[in-house]
């Protein structure tokens, strides 16, 4: 059996959590993986909670939802508080936005803060692309998909007028992730 990773992005509606998960899924397809992705969000377009789940595997996927997350990416405190209870017992990794989330102390869970919203506001002058900064950082840290596959996925799935800023955010995030990542 090959590897199976369960990734959960969470935040509040409007943060682009669903787009981040979808783009990750597309990238994993490009890498030749099996992928299942599902989303959950409130009825309203803004506010409320949003969640995007991606299961990436070397083999066909039996159950397509996340049962417990190997990787949790949190963009809001309320979402973090809910989903931190559902991370894998062994080797779970939590990546959180350090402006939005105050992590709780947990044994055996590696938690990494990424200044995604901060960077989006100050460096990229667009709060909306915090999701792409977070995605770029998460991929750099986890190497769950190929960097080039990720960039192509953004180019293919984001409307042309937002493309450049999203790709830039992804690259900036990727760099942040590399800086945070402890070399093995």
């Amino acid at each position: 059996m090959g590897e199976l990773k369960q990734i959960r992005f969470c935040g509040f509606g409007g943060q682009g959590v669903v787009l981040a998960g979808t783009i990750l899924g597309y990238a994993a397809i490009k890498d030749g993986k099996w992928v299942s992705g599902s989303n959950s969000y409130g009825a309203q377009a803004r506010g409320g909670s949003a969640r995007s789940e991606v299961v990436i595997s070397d083999d066909p996927i039996k159950f397509p939802h996340v049962i417990e997350s190997d990787i949790l990416v949190a963009l809001s405190q309320s979402a973090y508080d809910v989903y931190i209870k559902n991370v894998a017992e062994k080797g779970a990794l939590v990546i959180y936005d350090d402006l939005m989330v105050q992590p709780s102390h947990l044994r055996g869970v590696q938690q990494i803060g990424v200044p995604a919203t901060n960077t989006a506001i100050h460096e990229l002058e667009s709060k909306q692309v915090a999701n792409m900064v977070m995605l770029g950082a998460s991929v750099a840290i986890t190497r769950i998909v190929n960097r080039q596959a990720l960039i192509s996925s953004v180019i293919e799935n984001v409307a042309e007028r937002f493309r450049d800023v999203n790709v830039k955010a992804l690259e900036v995030g990727y760099k942040l992730g590399e800086d945070h990542c402890c070399p093995e």
Partner: protein, 380 residues
């Protein structure tokens, strides 16, 4: 009936489609070139994709004023020669029922996709359920048969949409793809193969379009504009379409034939998938998304050494009575988890004598594998 392979209209390869997008692509691959529909959550993504993709294949797309108009215009287009489809969800499926009965009696091949949501009524429009299965069988008045399929993955939303068209054409019958919100909105890796198997509509100029002496009971299917001067009516009719609304024999023969042409072929229509059945003491019978939860659960339980199996129903109607009867004789208990109040369990109980334990969840959520494991463990 001829079977041929056609080139796919989408480049072969792997895609990351949602289930609803996969339906649109499956329909196009199957040769569907007429689509009429009305927006309804959680199915609208299919219609949106069709409206764009039909431009590539010279298809006719129309957004109608309601679901009644959608099914009726689909029937009109089929008689004009199209392979046609509409996609909807519970409330729209309810509105279509009169048209479905008309299609059954006029033996109009068409495909209806129902992306099931939590009902009854408007219910929970964005949440999942599997509560329309009995409606697929009994929704319109009178006695008729349809074929209903139950996909469990995005790949099957594509593959079974193609199957649905082929079955509709082969048996001249409405075919339902009974999707569920959780599959319609799921994205997964989906493979588009280079070629697709297609059934072409049987033609036999001059032959009666509503009757046959052949054992299969399936008449050839002409179209308007072919000089056949067809008479198509939803009233009782003879083999040439002439109304016979007072003739008991014509009515009895017609109703019998449109039922038997499906029931006689049930062995080739019905598809099931067995998992670990050989020595299973408890067999889970499941379909749709719940079958995936069930397979995950059964796999885990097998690893624990539990004698548990799964029978997955890919076809809901006609019902898999034969294999259900068989497993009912060997298993101690059957366990039937459903996102409804026991629609398929009731059907199973017609064919088995053993205990059939229901697990019914109607909260708008999928049934989680852990719940199935817990329930099955309590039965061991």
């Amino acid at each position: 009936m001829t079977r041929r392979k056609i080139d796919s209209t989408l480049s072969p390869g792997f895609y990351y489609f949602s289930g609803n997008e996969a339906v649109a692509e499956g329909a196009i691959a199957a040769g569907c070139r007429y689509y009429a529909g009305y927006p309804i959550t959680p199915s609208s993504e299919t219609m949106e994709r069709i409206s764009i993709r039909f431009k590539d294949v010279d298809g006719v797309f129309i957004q109608m004023e309601d679901e009644i108009a959608s099914i009726c215009s689909v029937i009109g287009a089929v008689w004009a020669g199209a392979k046609a489809m509409t996609v909807t969800s519970g409330p729209g499926f309810s509105l279509m029922q009169e048209g479905i009965g008309y299609a059954a009696l006029t033996e109009t091949p068409l495909v209806i996709v129902d992306i099931q949501r939590a009902g009854p009524g408007t219910g929970q429009a964005t949440r999942v359920a599997s509560g329309d299965l009995m409606q697929a069988k009994w929704g319109s008045h009178g006695d008729y048969q349809t074929i209903a399929l139950s996909p469990w993955s995005v790949q099957e939303m594509y593959d079974q949409t193609i199957d649905a068209f082929n079955l509709a054409e082969k048996y001249r019958v409405p075919v339902f793809l009974m999707g569920e919100e959780a599959i319609g909105h799921l994205r997964e890796r989906m493979e588009v193969k280079p070629t697709v198997d297609i059934f072409d509509r049987a033609k036999k100029p001059g032959a009666p379009p509503f009757g046959t002496n052949q054992d299969d009971g399936i008449p050839p299917m002409p179209a308007f504009g072919e000089g056949e001067r067809l008479l198509v009516t939803g009233s009782t009719h003879n083999e040439f379409g002439i109304r016979k609304t007072d003739d008991p024999e014509v009515h009895a023969n017609l109703v019998t034939r449109i039922n038997n042409k499906i029931l006689k072929h049930r062995e080739s229509i019905i598809k099931t998938e067995p998992y670990y059945l050989d020595d299973a003491e408890i067999i889970v019978v499941a379909y749709g998304f719940t079958a995936r939860s069930s397979l995950f659960a059964v796999d885990r339980l097998r690893k624990e050494g539990k004698k548990v199996g799964l029978l997955r129903l890919k076809t809901i109607w006609p019902f898999a009575d034969g294999i259900i009867h068989q497993i009912g004789r060997v298993a101690k208990k059957l366990f039937v988890p459903e996102m409804n109040r026991g629609q398929v369990r009731g059907e199973i109980m017609k064919y088995v004598a053993c205990e059939v334990i229901p697990y019914n969840q109607t909260n708008g959520d999928i049934i989680h594998p852990h719940e199935i494991m817990k329930q099955v463990r309590s039965l061991l």
